[in-house]
Assembly symmetry: C3
Amino acid sequence: MELTTLFYWIDHLGVAVFAISGTLLAFRKNMDGFGVIVLATVTAIGGGTTRDLILDMPVFWVYDPNYLYTVALAALITILWLRYKAYIHQKTLLLADAVGIGFFTVMGALKALEAGFSPLICIIMGTMTACFGGMLRDVLARDIPMVLKGELYATACLIGGTVFVFLAPYSQLLAILVGGITTVLLRLGALRWQWSLIVFHEHHDGHR
Amino acid sequence: MELTTLFYWIDHLGVAVFAISGTLLAFRKNMDGFGVIVLATVTAIGGGTTRDLILDMPVFWVYDPNYLYTVALAALITILWLRYKAYIHQKTLLLADAVGIGFFTVMGALKALEAGFSPLICIIMGTMTACFGGMLRDVLARDIPMVLKGELYATACLIGGTVFVFLAPYSQLLAILVGGITTVLLRLGALRWQWSLIVFHEHHDGHR
Amino acid sequence: MELTTLFYWIDHLGVAVFAISGTLLAFRKNMDGFGVIVLATVTAIGGGTTRDLILDMPVFWVYDPNYLYTVALAALITILWLRYKAYIHQKTLLLADAVGIGFFTVMGALKALEAGFSPLICIIMGTMTACFGGMLRDVLARDIPMVLKGELYATACLIGGTVFVFLAPYSQLLAILVGGITTVLLRLGALRWQWSLIVFHEHHDGHR
C-alpha cells in the first residue's frame, strides 16, 4: 500500500472517531436522531474545514464525498451500539476525543506541510484541525469546551505537532506515528493523572 | 420577469425572513437596539456566508450591498411592529424560521448547482445555508440550537434539497417551488405533530 | 517611520490588547494555563481571520507569524501580572476590550479600503474585525456576548468606521486616529453613562 493511501485511511479514521465522539455527546444530551447527525458532522469535519478555509485550499469533503459517508456510517454504527448498550461511560467519550485529536493533529500538520507552509504554521494547523471540531461540538451542545478546561488539550496537540514537524523530514510515516501517539498519550496521561498547568493563584476567586 | 430576477427576489425574501427571526429572538431575550442589528444580520447572512466560504466563491453580500439593506429594512420594520404589538407568540418565531429554511435550502442548493457541484454537495450546501444562520443566532443568544432539538429540522432541509436536485434538470422554477414548499411543510408538520426520530432508548438518563 | 510601518505596529497593538482581554476573561473564569492560550489567541486573531476569509484575502497571521508571537507575549505578560496582582477589576477587562475594538475597527476598514472595496464594505469589515474576536471569546467562555448587551458596541464601531472612511481620502493617519478614538470614546462613554438604545417597550417581559 502506498503511503498516500495509508494516510487517506488514517484521515478517515480520524473523521470516524470524531463522528463517534459527536454522537456520544448527543446521546448524553438526550438529543434525538436529527440533532445527532448535525453534531456528528460538525465535530468530524469542523476542524479540517476551518484549516482548509484559513490555508485557502479546497475544503476536503467538498471534492471527496467519501468523508461524508464515513461520518454517516460511524454515527449510524454508534447509534445502533448505543441502542443495545443503552449507556456510556464518560470515559468512552473522552477516549474517543483523545484518539481523534491524535489523528487530526498529525494529518492537519501533514496537509499544511505538503502545501509548503512553515513549520510553525504546520503545528498551528495540526492543533486547529484537532481542536476546532470538538470546540464546535461543545459550544453547540452547550458544554464547557474541553479545550478550555484544566487538563492538557491544545498543548498536547502543539507538542505532538512539534514532534511531527521535527521527524517529518526523515520519515513521514514515523513522524505521523510518533507525533500522533505523543498527542494521544499526553492527553490520556493528563486525564489520568490530572496534569494541569496552574498559572493563576487560587485566592482570586473572591475578587471576580 | 426573467428567472434570475425572480430567484434574486426569492433570495432577498429568505434574507428578510431570517432577519425577522433574529429580531424576534432578540426581542424575546430583551436585547437592546444594538444587539438586535447584530443578531438580525448574523442570522440572515451567516448561512450563505458559510456556504460561499466553503465553496470558495465570492461572499454574496460583499459584492451586492442590497442584501445588507434588506437586513436593515426587515429588522427595522419588525422593531416598529413589535413596539406597536409589544408581544410575540413563540409560534411566530418558529414560523419565520421555517419559511426561512425553506427559501434558503433551495437557493443554497441552486447556487451550488449553477457552480457545477455534485448533487450531494448541492443538498449539503442547501442544508448548510438554511441551518447555519439560525444556528449562529441560537448560539449567540444562548438558546438551545433549534437544529439540535427533537423535531425534524436539518432533515427537512436534506429532504427538500433532495427534491430540488431531482426536479432541477426539468425545471428550475418547479424545483425551487416544490423543494422549498416540501421543506417548509415538513418543518411545520414536525412542529405541529411533533414528528421526531427516537434513536436512543429512554432509560439511559440515569447513566449520564 | 513610514506610515505602513506605523500601521503595522498599530495592528500588533490591537492584537496584543485583545490577547490581554482574552487572558483576563480566562482568569475571571478560573481557567488554567492551557485554556488561557486558546482564549487569548481566538480573541486576538478571530476577527481579522473572519475578515480575511470573507474578503478572500490571505489570512494575515498565516504569512506573518509575528502576530502569533505578539499573542503569546501579551498573554504571558498578562499572566505574570495577574500572578502578582491576583485580582482584576471588571473595568480593566472592559477597558482592554474598548481599546481593542478601537484599533481593530480602523485597521480592518483600512485593509478593506486598500484592497479596493466600497466604503460600506469597509465599514462592515472594520466592525466585523473589531467584534468577532470578542464574540468568539464570550461564546467560548459561555458569557453573554458583549456585542449583544445593552450598551453601544457594534454601533460604536460602525460610527468609528464611518468617520474613518470619510477622512481616509484626505489623510489615512488622521482617519485612523480620529476613527479609532471616536470608537473608543463612544464605547467608554456608553459604559460610563449607560448609553443605550431602547427599541422595545418594557412591558413585554410577561409575554415571553
